[in-house]
């Protein structure tokens, strides 16, 4: 522990320079922005390899990892799958990241995705004969609203009563699952002739059009990448604009940096917190709509997989910066797409990818760990991002 750090820490609690640097680095510190994530991914893959050795033996590491790489990047099919998997991750990652910027830990992306995806499906099958140019935006808007509603609840509770968003969003995740199961069995929503909870299929005019089917390659009609990817990139740009170019974004970041100072400076902290959660929920809702409108064309329990939780890792990995989140999402998309190939080709369970992802977050969240292992010098920082239970 250096002298300099001690002095910094002595200045008291109201100032939180350390985590602020971490979530919103003032200057671009390339060493910590690039080297730490790279080393984190590398370390996680090495530990993953150890796990493969322990369960399957030496021989399977190379086949497993080469299948992982091929499934992620080699050929149009793989690239399409990687970007397809990355798309909802971008939305959900943005939903968590914008929360971090305002000092809020949104674990509720999962539930917000559920509500968004469900509402989008309802709009998707409820209208017949609408032109796609009207129907698709309408369904997407419904997705945003569904998620925004589910973000509004923890937002207003945090702002008005101080109920910690970690608890309320976790609870709302569970409530969203149960609500989904209930609604999917209503005759108005359930697919005719089915007894399990599954929704009707959306009209063709509400499906997100595929992007790569025109390519002159074999099986081009199976390239599943769809419009949602471009919408996700657009959303990332909008979030960037809100956070760094607009007044309201400045207020969000001010609240995140120091709520007392923000209040003193005349910023409506309660309104800002509610607003952040509404936008975050809406973004996650778009992610849910992306899955139901673009991939499955219907809703069923578990259509969100674990995307809402992976989003936490993405926001950390991407330093809560939209560009970073897009890059991190493509990495995780590659892990997901490659992981499926790895399971099929080398017989290594896809859950290994979850372990690798968890390890990546550990190394990202504890840069000193990476520093200690690799003996590299990178920017000084530690990971105080949230503010405990205090309001």
């Amino acid at each position: 522990m250096s002298e300099e750090n001690n002095v910094k820490e002595n200045e008291g609690q109201s100032e939180e320079p350390r985590w602020m640097e971490r979530v919103a680095p003032k200057e671009v510190d390339w060493s910590s922005l690039v080297i730490i994530p790279l080393l984190a991914v590398l370390s996680a893959l090495i530990i993953g390899a150890v796990l493969i050795i322990l369960t399957d033996g030496w021989g399977n590491v190379l086949p497993a990892y080469s299948a992982l790489f091929k499934g992620a990047f080699v050929g149009w099919g793989s690239i399409s799958e990687t970007l397809l998997a990355a798309t909802p991750l971008i939305f959900a990652g943005l939903a968590v990241g914008i929360g971090f910027r305002a000092g809020l830990f949104n674990i509720g992306a999962q539930g917000q995705m559920v509500m968004g995806g469900l509402l989008a499906v309802v709009v998707g099958f409820s209208f017949d004969g609408l032109p796609a140019v009207v129907h698709v935006p309408l369904a997407i808007l419904a997705g945003f609203l569904g998620g925004a509603l589910w973000g509004f609840i923890p937002g207003i509770l945090r702002a008005r009563t101080g109920a910690h968003e970690v608890i309320t969003t976790i609870m709302l995740n569970f409530i969203a699952f149960r609500t989904l199961e209930y609604l999917l069995k209503l005759p108005r929503i359930q697919q005719e002739g089915r007894f399990d909870p599954i929704s009707k299929e959306i009209a063709e005019s509400a499906q997100l059009p595929r992007l790569l089917t025109w390519l002159p390659v074999e099986n081009a009609d199976q390239l599943r990448l769809h419009l949602g990817f471009l919408i996700a990139l657009g959303a990332a740009w909008v979030v960037y604009w809100i956070l760094f170019k607009s007044t309201i974004g400045f207020e969000f970041r001010a609240v995140g940096a120091n709520p007392d100072a923000a209040r003193y400076g005349g910023i409506g902290v309660a309104a800002a917190i509610t607003m952040v959660m509404v936008i975050a929920g809406g973004l996650a809702g778009l992610g849910g709509a992306n899955e139901t409108l673009g991939v499955y064309h219907r809703a069923f329990p578990g259509f969100t997989a674990t995307i809402g939780f992976d989003a936490i890792a993405l926001a950390l990995l991407g330093r809560s910066h939209p560009a970073g989140i897009v890059a991190a999402s493509i990495l995780f998309g590659a892990l997901a797409a490659g992981g499926r190939t790895m399971q099929a080709v080398a017989g290594v369970g896809i859950d290994l990818i979850v372990v690798v992802q968890a390890l990546i977050i550990v190394f990202i969240a504890a840069p000193e760990l990476v520093r200690a292992i690799f003996r590299v010098k990178v920017g000084k920082e530690t990971g105080q991002i949230t503010r405990g239970w205090s309001t």
Binding site: T161, L352, Q384
Partner: protein, 418 residues
């Protein structure tokens, strides 16, 4: 420099008044709801059975009469709440009122039938156990200022280890292995939180993701193929305690349970005594409230935190074994299904006190048990709504209907030794 303090300090009094008023109107509203939904048009009688056999110890009420009585009591409580208020007894009164409400609701749902209350209370304790272990683990960690969001992961790892060690060696060693597995995860949390000063909530989330990933991976990779040898520990059955177990009603509920429930009693008693009556407890709490002051007095802040977080991990790991060794008898992927998070909520609900945590866990256990019961009776209420009831209750609780809970002052703050 005068920094405007957090709103809670400034507007405590108006907030309290507003809360009392809201509570008063809620009572009146509930009185109307109970009367019109549960009393009007309801026929038949309900029998609450407390004995083993029908006719042993029975209480029979007219369902409509019970609901009407409840409505009158609620109207009275609302009136008192709006005029005089109950002062310090507010929460006690609220708890009693909720109990009466549930009784009236049961009377309505089971009109014309009889309900075995002993069975329901027995399963309440059984269903509450893993939540309680999780909550106690949280209390242990947070009293020394380390937030433990990783309870869910520790429970899951405990469940996995308990099943594997329990199958390969013996259930008893399964318990030890499960505790240690939880302890090791807790040490990981401690190292990340104390040494590397990683954000504690992030560290906990990482532990959850990691635990889910590694147990699912090992389960799919190893357990599925060797289910007979490695995932078949058997269930540790109930052990009846002599004499105490023969007490009518109480004996069956409290003293004819499995080893986990007895361990739970011991841990709650031990922690309550330890935290509030011993030197160790005073030191632990001082580290959680004001580590700098504790350090000045010569208390080893880091060591106290490491030890208590490890102990918390042991409790969570042990509680995790409940899923495999105490209830199901085999490990399934993600079998804890969010109980750790409910435990976290129970800890807050129970105001960071072991007895409070147990009480809160029992409330959640009762909600679970009620939902199973109503599913059997067929009350016409969709089971999804009953299943989400505990989560809704949790949100209402943390949103402060039961008053503001105050965490240990240094909770979540890394300590840097000068």
């Amino acid at each position: 420099m005068t920094v405007v303090p957090e709103t809670a300090e400034q507007v405590r009094v108006p907030a309290e008044v507003r809360r009392a008023r809201i509570l008063g109107f809620t009572y009146l509203l509930l009185a109307a709801v109970v009367y019109f939904l549960l009393a009007v048009g309801t026929e038949g009688e309900v029998t609450f059975r407390f004995g083993d056999q029908p006719g042993d110890i029975d209480f029979t009420f007219s369902s409509a009469g019970l609901a009407t009585f409840t409505a009158i009591v609620f109207a009275f409580l609302g009136g008192v709440q709006l005029t005089k208020g109950f002062g310090k007894k507010t929460n006690v009164v609220l708890g009693g009122a909720m109990g009466l409400f549930i009784l009236a609701f049961l009377g309505w749902a089971a009109a014309g039938e009889s309900l075995s209350m002993v069975g329901m209370l027995e399963s309440t304790l059984f269903l509450a156990a893993p939540i309680a272990f999780g909550a106690l683990s949280g209390v242990m960690c947070e009293r020394v200022g380390v937030i433990n969001i990783g309870i869910e992961g520790m429970l899951l790892t405990g469940a996995f280890t308990g099943a594997v060690v329990g199958s390969v060696v013996s259930p008893f060693f399964g318990l030890i292995g499960a505790s240690l597995a939880g302890g090791i995860l807790a040490l990981a949390l401690a190292v990340l939180a104390i040494k590397y000063r990683v954000d504690q909530i992030i560290a906990g989330v990482v532990i959850n993701i990691f635990a889910l990933g590694i147990t699912s991976f090992l389960s799919a990779q190893v357990l599925v193929e060797n289910a007979q040898e490695m995932n078949n520990p058997g269930v540790m059955g109930p052990i009846k305690i002599p004499i105490l177990g023969d007490i009518p009603v109480i004996g069956r509920i409290f003293f004819d349970q499995n080893i986990f429930i007895y361990a739970l009693y011991l841990i709650v008693i031990g922690m309550t005594y330890g935290l509030f009556r011993t030197r160790w407890g005073l030191r632990s709490r001082s580290v959680g409230e004001h580590p700098k002051a504790a350090d000045t007095l010569g208390i080893k802040v880091f060591r106290t935190r490491y030890v208590n977080v490890f102990l918390g991990g042991l409790i969570a790991g042990f509680g995790g074994a409940f899923f495999t060794l105490g209830a199901v008898g085999a490990f399934n992927e993600n079998m804890t299904a969010g109980r750790g998070f409910i435990g976290l909520a129970a800890m807050i609900f129970g105001r960071w006190h072991p007895v409070g945590a147990l009480g809160a866990a029992l409330v959640f256990g009762f909600a679970d048990s009620l939902q199973f019961k109503l599913a059997v009776i067929g009350s016409g209420i969709p089971s999804e709504f009953l299943l989400m009831a505990p989560y809704v209750v949790t949100i209402i609780v943390v949103a402060g209907v039961v008053g503001k809970a105050r965490p240990p002052a240094a909770d979540g703050q890394p300590y840097i030794k000068q």
